[in-house]
Symmetry: C2
Subunit: 277 residues, 2 copies
């Protein structure tokens, strides 16, 4: 594992690391913000959306002030394997393949070889972070945006013992019910929809999965809201199942980092309540 950059920021260090992942079989990069002071510190995972890598939230996410204030480590992984030999969308589309791993373990060829983002985020990366940084894995929380919001919700719901709190910005709430999800889950997992359910937050909740604390913010002027994101399905599913969710639609906000950064401090304050409880 090699540190490829670091900057002093908000009293701590914003770092970027590269390592050879056994899970994906490729080099992988992630960023990590380490607030000042002795650890072990709680960890907030941030999963990014389509086309992104660690740099988008690291440059535009406005998370460091709140993480420094609360003493929370912030980790931003990449969104897919990359590099020579990694299969991509046949037409190079933005919503499948490179930058679009959808936090699944692919079973379809040619993707099954490298596209193991679920296992990477659930197993390999936490172990690596715990080995190299002063973190307390008994105090973890997870969030993410859009495709990464889907990742945060599904990884959170499948691992409720690991996360004190789960939040998302404009998540793909029901990938089995939208075009982005149909393309990604079909492409990575095949057309047997039974295999898709564990990668759909609504299906997981319908199936009995629960998290201790759940918060979702969504922009009301988000161009993807109705066709792709479907927060109303998440709300109905939670209401029916008895999963408490703090879900708010914010008038005028779109799908960009201007939206994410506007609500990032409130999300970090909210996670801090659970991480420090």
């Amino acid at each position: 594992m090699e540190r490829i950059n670091r900057w002093r920021a908000f009293g701590g260090w914003q770092e970027v690391w590269r390592h050879d992942s056994k899970t994906t079989g490729t080099p992988m990069e992630f960023s990590i913000f380490l607030p000042e002071g002795e650890g072990p510190k709680p960890v907030l995972w941030y999963l990014s959306g389509l086309t992104c890598n660690w740099s988008n939230v690291t440059e535009k996410g406005d998370y460091r002030e709140a993480c420094a204030r609360h003493g929370i480590v912030f980790v931003a992984p990449d969104t897919s394997p990359r590099g020579e030999g990694v299969a991509d969308d046949a037409e190079g589309a933005y919503d499948f393949g490179l930058g679009a791993g959808f936090y699944v373990d692919a079973t379809e060829e040619p993707f099954a070889k490298h596209y193991k983002m679920r296992q990477y985020i659930e197993e390999e990366l936490p172990a690596l972070i715990a080995e190299h940084f002063p973190v307390d894995l008994n105090r973890q929380a997870i969030t993410g945006h859009s495709m990464g919001g889907h990742g945060a919700l599904t990884i959170g719901l499948r691992n409720p013992e690991r996360f004190k709190s789960v939040s998302a910005f404009a998540p793909i709430s029901a990938p089995t019910e939208c075009p982005w999800g149909h393309k990604a889950l079909g492409g990575y997992l095949g057309e047997d929809r039974a295999a898709w359910a564990e990668y759909d937050a609504c299906k997981l909740i319908e199936g009995g999965a629960r998290v201790a604390a759940l918060k979702v913010d969504q922009g009301g002027a988000d161009g993807f809201l109705e066709e792709q994101l479907k927060p109303e399905l998440l709300r109905e599913t939670c209401d029916t199942a008895g999963q408490v969710v703090e879900l708010e639609i914010h008038d005028g906000y779109d799908h960009s980092y201007y939206f994410i950064s506007s609500f990032m401090p409130a999300h970090i304050d909210w996670h801090a309540k659970y991480l420090k409880a």
Copy 2:
């Protein structure tokens, strides 16, 4: 004048505008953050550094939370004229010509025609902002980074009645004493150094210019510190002349937006004291 983009952010609007500048004879773009609530509101000007346009600080500057909290309008102009017919550095270097207007009114050809960034920032843009937005020009402050820190200091020192407070991040403190300044002032103003003095913060202070409140932050690990930025000259000049300056060197911080954003909230809190006094 035409709005080319806007995003809802931190309860207000982050907007980007384009207008045909009479001063530069080119289209010019700027960004403006408008916090929610009725105006007129105070204005903080942010002048960017070499190679930048409005987008760098607008995406990476972490200023919106503090501006929203204090009700301060934040304006980020471009750093040079751009477009067809605008002269550039002969070798296309990053430190002269496009993206490097140095906040001077050029007198040397072929730059004199469009490179009028001093007059643009001092006269045309404030009038335009006052005409179109709910701002109170009796409550203005100015800041900037690197070349833009030089711009903030010199524009502030030449117009002390206009600004309640002046700050800078890693400014070029003495352009007449460093390679960036020699190249820019020589290229835009010619080799008669008498013409350079009004574009050098230290020379202006030596000549009797004063501002009511002055704050400078500088990264101690900034690669440009010794050769180009020379904060020690600013400190000595202020001490000798009796200009109070709050100047701090911060260990480990570099010249990037990771440094700027780390101290941005503190700068805005500091300006707010004077703007709201």
